[in-house]
């Protein structure tokens, strides 16, 4: 196990942000932390990265205790923060060099290593530009490159593609996949994007109110719902009639949308439509992570968006004005 977390807890005053979290991560695994705003994802990562002291509990990262051996933990990890954290009055190259010196990367390999990570994220030809002239996606790529510069065993990615356009997001996913394949690095990633979690993660932990609600592979999570999803647009559903149907495993009504988890949904579709009432539209699909998320947190995933996207922050936080 590259990370082992035991009863990790963080309180801010009376508020419990992370509540007795337990899980472990294998070498080479990509673990996703999914949860609504304020669920405690960032707080968990910050404790694992030794930036925050746990109130109680502990974790072992790459064999080192986060409370007692923070310097060794720090050398083992790379982290990409949720908010922009590169200096925009330095060039991309200078940001990387600064990082290399902070981590004591020996001068004999420093240049070569910087060139390597620049190539990995396709920023070689923009290395001499000030970061304030970078786009949001370039900046994010630079920060990923920086997190990798000192050859960490573990990479923490806190919403790596937040607020980026779909194309850039696709790009970054590509880099992450290549990374896992070529370097066997272990990754903990928090995200607001289903697609991202589905595509990148070996296992997903859904976290809500500081607690891990469920942890499994995306496939098992979907399978565990025990049926397909029928989504209906409907103003006045007849919920009582639905409850009588034993193959309808779960009913979720919100606004004018009804989500049903139905065993063997295809063959039962006509029967459902016959009793439920006047329907505006119908959608039948195998369970997605969205449905899993809704099932465990009672919230729609797509409503979740961290306050102020990365790009917005990058634009408003132009430093030193």
């Amino acid at each position: 196990m590259i990370i082992e977390i035991e009863n990790l807890t963080k309180r801010f005053g009376d508020f419990v942000a992370v509540d007795s979290v337990n899980f472990s991560i294998q070498e080479g695994e990509v673990l996703g932390l999914l949860g609504p705003n304020g669920a405690g994802k960032t707080t968990t990562l910050h404790m694992l990265a030794t930036l925050l002291k746990p109130t109680s509990g502990t974790a072992v990262v790459n064999g080192y205790d986060i409370s007692k051996e923070s310097a060794l933990v720090r050398k083992s990890i790379g982290i990409v923060f949720q908010e922009p954290s590169s200096d925009d009055l330095l060039t991309g190259y200078e940001n990387l060099k600064l990082h290399a010196l902070l981590y004591g990367v020996p001068s004999s390999v420093r240049k070569k290593r910087i060139e390597e990570v620049l190539r990995l994220v396709d920023l070689t030809d923009r290395r001499g530009d000030l970061v304030k002239h970078y786009s949001g996606g370039m900046r994010r790529r630079l920060e990923i490159a920086r997190g990798l510069l000192h050859n960490p065993k573990i990479l923490f990615l806190d919403e790596p593609t937040l607020g980026l356009d779909p194309q850039t997001r696709e790009h970054i996913w590509g880099y992450i996949e290549r990374l896992v394949e070529e370097q066997r690095i272990s990754i903990v990633i928090t995200t607001h994007y289903m697609e991202e979690a589905d595509r990148l993660c070996d296992r997903i932990a859904i976290i809500d109110h500081g607690k891990i609600v469920v942890l499994d592979s995306p496939e098992s999570l979907k399978r565990a719902l025990g049926g397909d999803i029928i989504r209906l647009e409907i103003k006045q559903p007849d919920l009582d009639a639905l409850k009588k149907l034993d193959y309808v495993k779960k009913v979720d009504a919100r606004d004018a949308t009804l989500s049903l988890t139905v065993i063997d949904a295809r063959s039962h579709l006509q029967e459902v439509l016959a009793v439920v009432g006047r329907v505006e539209s119908v959608e039948l699909h195998p369970p997605s992570l969205e449905d899993v998320f809704l099932n465990y947190t009672g919230r729609e995933f797509r409503e979740q968006e961290a306050e102020g996207g990365f790009w917005e922050r990058a634009m408003t936080m132009r430093a030193r004005k």
Partner: protein, 248 residues
Amino acid sequence: MSELSGLYALWEREFRIFLRERSRIVSSAINPLLWLFVFGGGLGSQVSVGNLNYQTFIYPGVVVMTVLFSSIFYGAYVVWDKRLDFLKEVLVAPISRVTIFLGKVLGGVTDGLIQATILLLFAPIFGITYGLNLTLVYAFLFILVIGLVSVGLVIGSMMESPEGFGLIISFVNFPLFFLSGALYPLSNLPTWLTIFTAANPVSYGVDAIRALMLGTHTFGIFVDFVVLLMFALLMIAIGSLAFKRMKL
């Protein structure tokens, strides 16, 4: 090993950024020159101190004023680093908080001494001859600036917003400046004022620079040295502690 290279890296970053912000260098040189020409020149047409022209008399004080304001203001960059989460990148690195603090101090000292140098280039205009011992002038400025930069950094480490920082430092800057004897001789002051000026570390900076440039002094250069050194060491200790305590 990475402590030393980290220290260098943090200093280098501050220095690069300082050089990139030329407008800041220029504006920080214009302010003291205005003081010297307008305030010093205006009052100097009526007033002299001993056998010294008033403009000449306040020149050392204005040099100290320049490093005072720029050093305390330098703490704002910690607040900016917090805002931009750059601070997290530094705090998560495998180097100690003391190193991080000292890296910042070195950056601030470099900024302050460069700004002092710009002003020193104008010295002959204000009747200061270069016969003076520049090495000693820099040595005293160096010790003084270490203490003052640390004060700014301590304040910056505790503040969340640049606005809040700006408000606090105006309450720090002006007493330190006006109670330092930069604009008037410290001899023959009313007792209550003497208490304040003697408790103000900046007074000893002004006294030392004035002694080196003009040959007049109140405390004497040895006392100045001891007080400034203690001030610098004390502030380094407090600053290291403040950085250790600094929350994200």
